[in-house]
Amino acid sequence: MNMNCQVCKKQQATVHLTDIVQGEKQERHLCESCAQEEGVLPKAPAHVQLGELITGLVMNKTAIQQLADLSCPHCKLTFVEFRNQGQLGCPHDYDAFEKALVPLIERAHEGASHHIGKVPNRLNAPRAADDDLVRLRRELTRAVDSEQYEEAARIRDRIRRLEES
């Protein structure tokens, strides 16, 4: 998509927003600096990629407005501050901002929302049920990758049952 920014009309638009305003879809195309001026992109984000992801989140503006009031009880970071600085304040933010972070995390990690890698040794022993989950999630990824959707659905049901227990 090659077009100029709607605000400055000079630079190439690299930020493409879709707002739903009263049920109407509105598209806006901005260059990076104008997007920063308008506050849709954090200024000088620590991660270019995070900037893009947050832009993606703007799509759902009403939801973001509700989330804007969220803050972490431990470090007092607000979601708006996170959006502007691109950095979380403490480990508890992952729970405090869960609603807002999950879509962002999924977007950053090809739809994944669960860790299946290494686990600290101190957590390894007493977590048999969780180990099953880890294994099942890995199998689920494999099944989806190899397009075995029936198998995937079966594994997903088992994961749900385990998560609920």
Partner: protein, 352 residues
């Protein structure tokens, strides 16, 4: 330690690793945070220095004990900080940061552990050529060792917690530095990059200011850190992505040798001529010409220059290294003159 260090390249630039005609080096980095502390954007200076004191003995031991060194970034000069950046031992972010922060570096420069970068810990292992298996074995053991002393911030659902959610999960960043002059010259590089980006890999220029591909050196790294194991991520690079790129580059190089011999030799020899005779030269220009020399050597077109010399010049012609060796602060213009002189001396037969 730094005075000694700047005189030669670290192990990763020795040009001796597997596939070194195309793969300069491989690196794996793990992002970790200490449980019970805020992330760095919300820590007080007191907490930062507390973290550093607490982590210091552990990271030093991880970087090889007494043989390694711990550098307090506040206690060294800006120039020394830049030297570390140019040697890929610390990130630009750590060098330019504020407050208590430091780095433990192993003697070989293969291991560096940054404290108080964007995360409390950034563990990095670097080796020359394509050696991701070996690196993973080393860094995993290092991480285990640190984890037996430090309680990491870990979440049952999200894995290792990081200050930026783009790193959460495994916190692993695999980066492979590639020299791809063949693909650049045959105009196929964009196609390869599009394919890499489709696989959710980031591709950027290697040396220079985070530029889009200055010269023919590129860094390919993963972006996805959640929902895949560390081994999955490593194996993607090791078994599919990098071998594919190597294959394309080799094919492009064969085409250059068989169908564009004159233009290939012209490039290689003009570059040697420029480097042997220039009186003032920028880092960007040096990079471009050294890339051609490197290609010429690997294709057997150029016999009187060694890869070792080329790699040394890559490192030594960078701004901070130049000034460190000269023992003086230099203006941009003075650097260009000193750079040309250094290169002339190293590349002129009988002068070195």
């Amino acid at each position: 330690m730094l005075d000694e260090m700047v005189r030669h390249a670290g192990e990763w630039l020795r040009g001796s690793g597997p596939m070194n005609e195309i793969v300069i080096s491989s690196r794996v980095r793990l992002a970790r945070n200490v449980a019970g502390y805020p992330f760095l954007s919300r820590t007080s200076e007191n907490q930062r220095s507390e973290l550093m004191e607490m982590l210091r003995p552990h990271v030093v031991s991880a970087a090889g004990g007494a043989a390694g060194a711990f550098l307090d970034m506040n206690a060294i000069s800006d120039l020394d900080q830049q030297v570390l950046v140019e040697r890929h031992l610390v990130s630009r972010n750590l060098a330019e940061g504020k407050g208590s922060r430091g780095v433990a570096i192993s003697k070989t420069e293969n291991v560096s552990v940054m404290v108080n970068e964007e995360d409390h810990l950034r563990i990095q292992v670097l080796r020359s050529g394509l050696q991701l298996d070996e690196i993973w074995r080393d860094i995993n053991a290092l991480d285990d060792k640190l984890e037996s002393k430090i309680e990491y911030a870990f979440h049952p659902r999200y894995g290792y917690l990081t200050a930026c959610p783009t790193n959460v999960g495994t916190g692993i960043r695999v980066s492979v530095m590639l020299h791809l002059p063949g693909l650049k010259l045959t105009g196929e590089i964009e196609r390869v990059f599009r394919a890499a980006r489709d696989m959710r890999l980031a591709v950027r220029g290697l040396f220079g200011e985070g530029t889009e591909a200055a010269g023919d050196f590129f860094q390919v790294s993963n972006q996805v850190t959640l929902g895949r194991t560390e081994e999955d991520t490593i194996n993607d690079f090791r078994l599919s992505v990098i071998p594919k790129i190597i294959e394309y580059e080799q094919k492009a190089r064969r085409t250059l040798v068989s169908e564009r011999t004159i233009s290939l030799d012209d490039r290689v020899w003009r570059s040697l001529g420029t480097l042997r005779h220039a009186r003032t030269i920028s880092s960007e220009e040096v990079m471009l010409h050294l890339s051609h020399l490197r290609l010429g050597v690997h294709l057997g077109r150029l016999k009187d220059v060694t890869i070792q010399t080329i790699n040394d010049l890559f490192l030594m012609s960078q701004p901070a290294h130049l000034q460190k060796v000269q023992g003086a602060r230099l203006t941009g213009e003075q650097r260009s003159i000193a750079r040309a002189e250094l290169i002339r001396r190293r590349l002129t037969p009988g002068m070195n």
